[in-house]
């Protein structure tokens, strides 16, 4: 492998000695997620501000299908479990299970996205588009941003599966999976907040 040659000059353990002991990549992801908190904070605040400000209907609250969204939320939550299993598999050096759990996580994420697409189309069919009122606009922008984040996460997971198939994701790179997991769990937690604040609390 090209990387091995490049780093061959110094021992792998010493290569990533940092002042805190946390690798740069992991700390970089934490910093990025800190920034993302403010992004979703602003989006969720906008929705809360506008939730009762619609001057014409229909509003999201009239259309929510809580049982349906509960199921898709549950699916997304379960994907965090399979993500943990993927990290655990690579830490044990079990590359086959790594691929299985990564693919399962991506699949569960895709089910969630499919649910969101279904939800959006059903809302639009029932007369609530992004233009209908301020509440619908805030709803689509906020959940849309979240959906884009989940989609990026799915692309990331599938890239990892691809690398693993090509033998480029050995046990020594377990941290890469762990970092992708940080992102995935973050996106999951954001959804828990959105589901609670936006769907359940009226």
């Amino acid at each position: 492998m090209a990387e091995l040659t490049a780093h061959g000059a110094h021992p792998p353990s010493a290569a990533h000695a940092t002042a805190t002991g946390i690798s740069n990549a992991k700390m970089g992801m934490w910093a990025f997620l800190g920034s993302e908190c403010l992004l979703f904070g602003a989006l969720i605040s906008t929705y809360i501000l506008y939730r009762h400000k619609a001057v014409s209907g229909p509003t999201p609250h009239q259309l929510y299908d809580i049982p349906f969204t509960s199921v898709s939320s549950f699916v997304l939550l379960m994907s965090s479990l399979t993500m943990v299993l993927a990290v655990s598999a690579i830490q044990r050096g079990d590359e086959r299970r790594l691929r299985v759990w990564l693919a399962t996580t991506a699949l569960l994420g895709s089910v969630f996205i499919a649910g969101q697409i279904y939800e959006f189309t059903s809302f639009i069919r029932r007369g609530m588009t992004i233009k209908t009122n301020v509440t619908s606009g805030a709803f689509y922008v906020m959940t849309g941003f979240h959906g884009v984040h989940v989609t990026i996460g799915i692309v990331m997971l599938l890239s990892l599966v691809n690398l693993s198939v090509r033998g480029k994701l050995p046990q020594s790179k377990a941290e890469v999976v762990e970092i992708a997991g940080l992102y995935w769990h973050f996106v999951d937690i954001v959804w828990i907040i959105i589901f609670t604040v936006v769907y359940l609390i009226h």
């Binding site: 492998m1 090209a2 990387e3 091995l4 040659t5 490049a6 780093h7 061959g8 000059a9 110094h10 290569a15 990533h16 940092t18 002042a19 805190t20 690798s23 740069n24 990549a25 992991k26 700390m27 970089g28 992801m29 910093a31 990025f32 800190g34 920034s35 993302e36 403010l38 992004l39 602003a42 989006l43 906008t46 501000l49 506008y50 400000k53 619609a54 001057v55 992004i130 233009k131 009122n133 301020v134 606009g137 805030a138 922008v141 941003f145 884009v148 984040h149 990026i152 692309v155 990331m156 890239s159 990892l160 690398l163 994701l169 790179k173 941290e175 890469v176 970092i179 992708a180 992102y183």
Partner: protein, 665 residues
């Protein structure tokens, strides 16, 4: 290391396919386009932002010419709106922020004893986003008109109803592009400072500039997503027909102000904290005393960072948010003056009793302290709500923020330029011309912006393109215009100084100022590998403590000569293996303005092309190793591990999460 040699031949076929051959050159045009060296990127930031400084300055001169006399007719109202909007946007986003970034990039790794930043290619990506984002914004002048809604783009004036052209769209997408670059840069520098400190460089031994940079970058990291959301909301209003800022449909224009100033006030500290850091380095060196109350300086900087999030409503007192909100933010605005005041007294305390050397850099630093104090005092007057109601949207506010941003940030940045010029370019700027530059700039600055206090209190509103002679504003406006041209003359002196130094300047000694911090233990100009040996830190002001100690009576005793501590290579012909340059940050960055043009003109095909460029750039970047295998031309490399273990932290682990790096907004 024969094992390494053995691996190489078998590994060759596994190398991912390349669209472009990996660049090797470190000089020439390709060298600059593909560099991932934090020092070269710092120079790129500095030169680019100085060019934008001249452009923004030219816009300022146009504004002053138009207002020099009543009923001015140099600019039409429409062009005037574009010029003042672009002046503000340029000076904030394309000048002061990236000039600070120039210092961050060049100095942070050197001040903490590192080989480079944590993610060198991400660093290059941030720079290219800055350059391309700036070019994108300015291309609007050729494409039907520049942004014209003011630098804070108040809704609903920016809605499609009141601003139907593409002007505001260029502003939205330009700032989004710049914001992605700033966020990536902030995360990069935060990780660098926290993680890449040399052994012994505890947090409370870090140079004060690095500390202020850390605070400013945390502010950036958390402030940029807020304006990103605000820009997306206005974009959806303009292009997708939502009603976020449309009062008739239940939207609230004040939401724009809340989001903008929740970003905008931390932004003020993003602009001034780096300059405070620079001055806090310069004053001790030229006073030959340690920084007075270093820990207090650190904590007051951190306090400003926290309190900066709790004062934004003082930009909105005239909105009428009710007595409770107004009073609370009035009090917090007065409180934030306390850590700022602490800093001013500490700078005075540092100079007090010192043996001051009046070099140009010190002139600018002292100019900073005095001018920033004036700007700070006029700022505190905004905390008094009844007074603020009179001052809002008047020239008094214009006077105030120019005293903080020019009298503060720009004077501080010039102080840093004179101080670190020998470090960066290996030559000393001319002191005599430097002092001319300082005095002409300082006098011009006060003549230009001092009278604006009076004009504001006389009732002259901001952003008017002309006024009638009967208003009584003629005299001070004319004076102000003279001042603006004096500043321009000062800037010309600086340019002449740089040119003269470049052509005829004598090589700088390695420690020209008898400095205190460890960036000066590398030779001037800094070699591309920074430190041959990672410095071991045992003191705050490490370099000073290598050179000086105190005797039993507390007197300063010289214990070493600076040349003894400068790190020089034993074998100058020795080849040191550096992380390889890369095309991909530039390619990836190029995708974003393409997406932007597609969105401005609603041409989805172009946006998709841009997205493909962006994604291919990121993927190629993710798949290439951060450091190419040693070149067979230098066979000794693979065998010897000299110097290599000190060089930049490779980015190998991020390479598999390419999407995550760049998905902010």
């Amino acid at each position: 290391m024969t094992a390494v040699e053995a691996v190489r031949p078998t590994s060759a076929p596994a190398t991912p396919p390349r669209f472009l051959k990996r660049p090797k050159a470190t000089d020439g045009v390709v060298g600059w386009l593909t560099t991932i060296d934090h020092k070269k990127i710092g120079i790129l930031y500095g030169v680019t932002s100085f060019i934008f400084f001249l452009v923004g300055g030219f816009e300022a001169l146009l504004i002053r010419l138009q207002l020099a006399q009543p009923n001015g007719n140099i600019l039409t109202a429409q062009v005037y709106n574009q010029v003042f909007t672009m002046h503000g946007t340029t000076m904030v986003f394309l000048v002061i922020m990236p000039m600070s970034a120039a210092f961050f990039n060049y100095l942070i790794p050197l001040q903490i004893g590192a080989g480079d930043v944590a993610f060198p290619r991400l660093n290059a990506f941030s720079y290219w986003l800055y350059l391309l984002g700036g070019a994108f914004l300015y291309s609007s002048f050729l494409l039907g008109g520049a942004p014209n809604g003011g630098w804070f783009g108040y809704a609903p004036n920016t809605s499609i109803t009141y601003s139907p052209g593409h002007n505001i769209d260029f502003w939205i997408f330009g700032l989004l592009i710049l914001g992605i670059g700033s966020t990536a840069s902030a995360a990069n520098l935060i990780v660098t400072i926290i993680n890449m400190r040399a052994p012994g460089m505890r947090l409370l031994r870090m140079p004060i500039f690095t500390w202020m940079a850390l605070v400013a970058n945390f502010l950036l990291l958390f402030a940029m997503p807020v304006i990103t959301v605000a820009l997306f909301l206005i974009m959806f209003d303009r292009q997708w027909g939502t009603h976020f800022f449309d009062p008739l449909a239940g939207g609230d224009p004040v939401l724009w102000q809340q989001l903008f100033w929740l970003f905008g006030h931390p932004e003020v500290y993003i602009l001034v904290l780096p300059a405070m850091g620079i001055v806090s380095e310069v004053i001790p060196v030229f006073s030959r005393k340690p920084l007075f109350g270093y820990p207090v300086m650190v904590f007051s900087g951190v306090a400003i960072g926290f309190m900066g999030w709790g004062v934004w409503v003082h930009h909105m007192f005239a909105v009428g948010l009710g007595p409770v909100a107004t009073s609370a933010f009035s009090v917090s605005t007065m409180l934030i003056a306390v850590p700022t005041g602490v800093k001013i007294f500490n700078w005075l305390g540092t100079m007090w009793g010192g043996s001051i050397r009046f070099k140009t850099s010190m002139h600018f630093a002292m100019g900073f302290v005095v001018m920033f104090t004036i700007g700070g005092l006029s700022g505190v007057t905004h905390a008094l709500v009844p007074a603020d109601r009179q001052q809002t949207d008047s020239y008094y506010v214009v006077a105030h923020f120019h005293y903080v941003l020019f009298g503060g940030s720009i004077l501080g940045i010039f102080s840093g330029i004179y101080y670190w010029y020998p470090k960066v370019f290996g030559k000393m700027l001319d002191e005599k011309l430097g002092k001319w530059h300082f005095w002409v700039t300082l006098i011009g600055f006060n003549v230009a912006f001092g009278p604006m206090h009076i004009l504001g209190l006389q009732g002259m509103p901001r952003r008017i393109y002309t006024y009638s002679a009967s208003m009584g504003w003629n005299f001070w406006n004319f004076v102000s215009t003279i001042g603006a041209f004096t500043i321009a003359a000062g800037t010309l002196i600086f340019i002449y100084n740089v040119r003269k130094t470049d052509r005829h300047g004598a090589p700088a000694p390695d420690d020209p100022w008898d400095a205190r911090t460890i960036e000066w233990i590398t030779p001037n100009p800094t070699p591309e590998y920074n430190f041959i040996e990672t410095p071991q830190i045992s003191h705050q002001d490490e370099f000073w403590h290598l050179k000086y100690a105190e005797d039993d009576d507390g007197r300063l005793v010289k214990i070493g000569e600076s040349p003894d501590f400068i790190q020089r290579r034993a074998r100058p012909d020795e080849h040191i293996h550096m992380p390889s340059p890369s095309y991909w940050p530039l390619v990836a960055a190029f995708g974003l303005p393409v997406i932007g043009y597609g969105q401005v003109y609603r041409l989805w095909g172009i946006s998709i092309v841009g997205l493909i460029i962006l994604l291919s750039g990121i993927y190629a970047w993710g798949l290439e190793p951060s450091t190419e295998p040693p070149d067979p031309e230098y066979p000794e490399e693979a065998g010897g591990d000299h110097a290599q273990h000190e060089l930049a932290e490779p980015e190998t682990q991020l390479e598999l999460t390419p999407a995550a790096e760049t998905t902010d907004g």
